[in-house]
């Protein structure tokens, strides 16, 4: 604020008195009701529909959680040649159906008896759970910390991401590395979708488009990640010494501006891709073939 460069000393108190209200008797209530602040009993004075965004976010995320939990534990109807559900790829356990050249690698052996989706979904789940956009989304909508700007949160104390377990949010970049691998495998699955049900190449159906739309959004979301932006160039101090990384940083930055949109789009697309495969595999629907 352009009111001077130094604090004018108050004859009654020290200039370094950071919080004059601390000299007052202990406040009976904290936060915006701390003694010394404007005595307004309301927790907020907002008149707009501030609750709408966190509500819609919570409902959207809950819908996905319910759907993906059902599908991850279902352990069935996830492969309809040549399409595999993104929830079940790669399959690292031995109890997968044969995927005709797909990513059923059985690396863990046959001791795993649960749904194979549970193994691989840890990585995209971790990536999205520690994502800077989703953090904002669930801190606001599930934890009300804060529910909206200038709306008082209900918690008595707050330590943010300074302690376990939330300090683990700092490992987002490792999930980003895994997300690159998973996106690569899903791209492989999308390439395999140019086959027909007998494994012959040079064919295409509606499912091929669904898988390609999904993987395009998955890549866009993954590459637009804040950690990616940091790794490709953001960590540099002198862009002028690294022109290629500077250009990459600029491109990722433009995608990063749409990170929220891509987060939601890719969340919906991955569910739609899985649902499409489910409908095919369960016989509810036949894949329209183009050629």
């Amino acid at each position: 604020m352009a009111t001077g460069t130094q604090i004018q000393p108050d004859p009654d108190s020290s200039a370094d008195d950071v919080e004059p209200q601390r000299a007052s008797p202990a406040p009976t209530r904290g936060g915006i009701h701390t003694q010394g602040r404007a005595a307004i009993p309301d927790k907020h004075l907002r008149t707009d529909r501030w609750w709408l965004a966190p509500l819609v976010t919570a409902l959207g995320l809950l819908a996905f959680i319910v759907y993906s939990t059902w599908r991850a534990f279902a352990n069935g109807d996830y492969y309809a040649a040549p399409y595999v559900s993104p929830f079940y790829s790669p399959c690292l356990a031995a109890n997968c159906v044969d995927m005709q050249g797909g990513a059923d690698w059985q690396l863990l052996g046959d001791w795993w008896k649960l749904s194979p989706a549970l193994i691989i979904l840890i990585f995209p789940l971790g990536f999205r759970l520690t994502c800077y956009y989703y953090r904002k989304a669930y801190y606001r909508s599930f934890w009300a910390s804060p529910p909206a700007c200038a709306v008082a949160e209900p918690h008595g104390g707050y330590t943010g991401e300074t302690r376990f377990p939330l300090i683990l949010q700092n490992i987002h970049r490792y999930f980003f590395y895994f997300a690159i691998v998973v996106a690569g495998i899903l791209t492989f699955d999308a390439v395999l979708a140019f086959r027909d049900a007998d494994g012959e190449w040079g064919h295409m159906g509606l499912g091929t488009l669904v898988l390609w739309a999904n993987i395009a959004l998955i890549w866009a979301y993954t590459v637009s990640c804040h950690s990616c932006r940091h790794i490709v160039g953001g960590r540099l101090k002198h862009f002028s010494k690294h022109p290629v990384r500077y250009r990459l940083w600029g491109w990722v930055g433009r995608l990063n501006e749409r990170h929220m949109l891509l987060a939601w789009s890719s969340l919906v697309s991955v569910a739609v891709a899985d649902l499409y495969v489910y409908l095919l595999a369960s016989g509810a629907f036949d894949d329209p073939r183009f050629f």
Binding site: A2, E19, I32, R37, P146, A150, V151, E153, G234
Partner: protein, 255 residues
């Protein structure tokens, strides 16, 4: 076109106060600060309000209009319905002095705690030469007018007074990011690790990137995306990424 608007303006001091009702004339093209001035002129001559430029550049007239932290001089009356009651309150994260004026000295204290620019050795002031692409990021942060709306809306201190001693707030974490990205800042050569100190001394970990600082910034600075998250990533380089640590040890290459 003129009309009469209904205002509720907070009147009081650090002991007590209340929202008081006023009916006041509004003319086409006016902003909230104009109405507050008309109140001073016609109905409440002792109403305290801090203001200077009336152009969104001095950062003085920060307040909460209908509960949203805003500059009164940049809030057009045309965004409200004529029948709408408009509530004007002081910033609620800081101690109030009187009426709409708050004591923002918390921010000056935090500003002093941030180590200033460390001049590079062997280059005198006036001899600094920098490439535009190296200073572009910092220039966005230099648009800050220090209205302290971001500090006011940040729930870390707004809702938790006890965090004030340990949390610098978005404006000053952005200042650390600006200096850490400055191509000529020689803090590291002088033994100051800004990334580590942001985490350990200025409370970067308290930020849960819920973006309210960005939402209220009248200069439209992308505080969270361009300053706080990059700073968190830089702190993660230092503290949570053994690969980066090892790479720096082996190569000793300056980014």
């Amino acid at each position: 076109m003129s009309y009469t608007a209904h205002f509720r303006v907070w009147r009081g001091d650090d002991k007590s106060g209340e929202l008081r009702d006023f009916d006041v004339e509004v003319n086409e093209g006016e902003v909230v600060l104009d109405i507050i001035h008309r109140l001073q002129a016609t109905q409440a001559s002792d109403l305290a309000v801090r203001w200077n430029c009336k152009a969104g550049k001095c950062g003085s007239c920060s307040a909460e209009v209908n509960g949203r932290p805003r500059l009164m001089c940049m809030t057009r009356m045309s965004v409200f319905d004529e029948s709408e009651t408009i509530t004007v309150a002081p910033m609620r994260a800081f101690p109030v002095v009187r009426d709409l004026v708050t004591d923002v000295s918390f921010n000056y204290t935090k500003a002093r705690e941030i180590p200033s620019f460390a001049p590079p050795a062997g280059v005198a002031p006036g001899e600094y030469r920098m490439m535009q692409e190296d200073v572009g990021r910092s220039q966005e942060f230099r648009k800050c007018i220090e209205c302290f709306l971001c500090q006011n809306t940040c729930h870390v201190v707004r809702d938790h007074e006890e965090n004030k001693p340990v949390f610098a707030g978005p404006r000053f974490l952005m200042r650390i990011a600006e200096l850490d990205m400055h191509p000529l800042d020689a803090a590291e050569e002088r033994g100051l690790d800004r990334k580590r100190s942001a985490q350990e001394e200025h409370g970067l970990g308290y930020c849960n990137i819920t973006k309210c600082c960005t939402e209220v910034c009248p200069e439209h600075i992308k505080i969270t995306d361009n300053a706080l998250i990059p700073l968190k990533e830089r702190a993660a380089d230092r503290k949570y990424d053994p690969l980066v640590w090892l790479g720096n040890k082996i190569r000793r290459r300056e980014g």
